[in-house]
Symmetry: C4
Subunit: 206 residues, 4 copies
């Protein structure tokens, strides 16, 4: 079963999981007190660490949203292809820049360039995910249990996400707070994972 | 078998393993002599490294306990769900803060705030694990071979763990030694893994 | 099925994926602004970061090419052997030096020694891959669906790659730009993955 | 098949692979030129990097030997158990100290304490592996295709390894070169992996 027919997606999923797990985890290693702490410098050090903590938590949440979507999408894909491998690696490349953006905005929370870079990285991630999903849809790589109207709903959600990220990359030059608000909007929008597996679709058949 | 019915837990387990393996391992990279060693500074450097070593060993043991419990729990889960994915990611978030706590307490062993933060992180981990287990129990996601009285025993053990961690987060302000003693109590309590698989339950049927 | 007959390749693939995922991802952690940014030093810092970004993107692309080839090759291998394990570990050793080369060339883009070391590391990687592929071919470890003329085509492509990398290790002493041009040639050559799975080979049978 | 009977070893193997892959790979991130290189300091920097390279290559080789042995042993294990989980985690703990030893000896190659610590860490690894193998043998967790006389041969080899590592931890106080020679002896001894799978044992049946 595993080595016949199309290339199974199993190894691509495992590899993606490895990359995503490392991205999620290693960001936390910047969360450190770098000097020997005393009663005097503790408050100061903590104030510098706080934005790093918040940017880490936000990035963890956004990567988690992406992983859940990746998990749900690949769960429905029948088999792999050369182009799918590359579209997935393309997505992983932009995901791998998330720690850079997180470190940048965590170390310079009030600098518009930092929030803008952070927003741009997530915009490129959302774009890579949209390309991947589009290819899967066009090539009919999905199992039949993913209904078409559900796919359209997800595509619309993706386009909204792209627009939000584009705005979050431009708005920091007006106010970084506007940008932060938008960053929180996407996880809120995506928090409920895309329910497109068999049991949940029963109600679609009237 | 894999792509029909409910979502299999396989990929969630593999992803969790990736995250936990990285957390366990990368903590060791703080264990380094940072300066060129000479006969004079060797003793001094070693004395600074020792608490880092001990905090690493303790964290490794506690993460190992958590991994074994995670392994035993997921071994019994029939299939995944959207909510289970998120409860697991929630647990992984708090686990990802363990290296921060380890570095904090290893670098500042006598500072009450460090032991308190370390205890608080493990309290939040235990809470996340309890939420996960509670959901699994309520949704009847377990295979039938997990007997109910065994589940109750584990829930009681979880509540004791929560109480110990809560105490370890508060006690350092009295004495950090009290807190350290509590940290050692939990691994001792959990060292014997939860035996809830088929063969071990045979004696439950009189 | 899994524990009978020859050793399955599954664990070797998973282990390789782990190593490659870490190599790909952790390189990004050198992409950091190391000082507190101000309006004055931002441009300067960014100019220092740019070659690191470019060398990271190039290394990511080349490791991705290697992973796709590894994936395609192992997909066709019937079972593992002691020698195959070691040839694969030999490949992983040279792959593990890629972050060193990336950091070297990213930090010193105009130093001929850096580009030369970078080229040499990829030459040794290509050599290790050729040894692995040669062993697989000689030991007839491939499934029958890999036609011989296709294997010969791939071997010829491998020899060209080796020659390009050898040139890229020697040419920086003339001009580092020549070397950079060659680095871009290999991904271009390999970008289309080797299509040697069942469905694609149907047209070979006239 | 997967969730019935004894606990399958699959997840324990995957988790071990994750930990070992990270250990092998992340050691390479100490291999860096830390200052901006000039024609003057290049030779000096390179001389400091060389022992780090050699200690990395040696550690990679020794971890690879351990991984191959781990792979071969677990390939033969029928099912997991609580005690096996903990003996494996115990082994992973000592493995996780290898990067510390590698960094120590790579940064201070002529310091007897460094070689001694390096030898001691590998002695403890070999001891943990022997404990794991002993448990597997006593509990009859192996498939029948592992012949008893082969097991005894391996146990003898393990005892020799333990003796060599014990010597390598003591000898640096006489001469670090003696210790280095012993470090090279073990990979040489173990390079041929333990051939205890079905096909190779055919000649045992006269």
């Amino acid at each position: 079963m595993e080595k016949a027919g199309g290339i199974p997606t199993q190894r691509m999923e495992a590899f993606s999981d490895g990359v995503i797990a490392i991205l999620m985890t290693v960001m936390v290693f910047d969360l450190k007190f770098t000097t020997t702490l005393t009663a005097e410098n503790f408050r100061q050090e903590w104030m510098e660490l706080l934005p790093k903590f918040l940017s880490y938590a936000l990035s963890f949440l956004m990567v988690a949203v992406m992983w859940v979507n990746h998990h749900q999408l690949f769960h429905q894909i029948k088999h792999s292809s050369g182009k799918l491998l590359w579209l997935n690696l393309h997505l992983l490349f932009w995901m791998s820049l998330i720690p850079f953006g997180t470190h940048f905005v965590g170390g310079n929370p009030w600098m518009p360039a930092a929030s803008s870079a952070y927003g741009l990285i997530f915009f490129l991630n959302a774009l890579a995910f949209t390309l991947l999903r589009g290819h899967v849809g066009r090539q009919r790589l999905l199992h039949s249990f993913a209904p078409a109207h559900r796919q359209r709903f997800i595509q619309r959600k993706n386009r909204i996400t792209l627009a939000i990220y584009a705005a979050s990359a431009l708005l920091p030059w007006v106010s970084v707070y506007l940008s932060f608000a938008l960053f929180l909007l996407v996880p809120a929008l995506y928090f409920v994972p895309e329910k497109i597996t068999v049991p949940e679709n029963k109600d679609n058949n009237p």
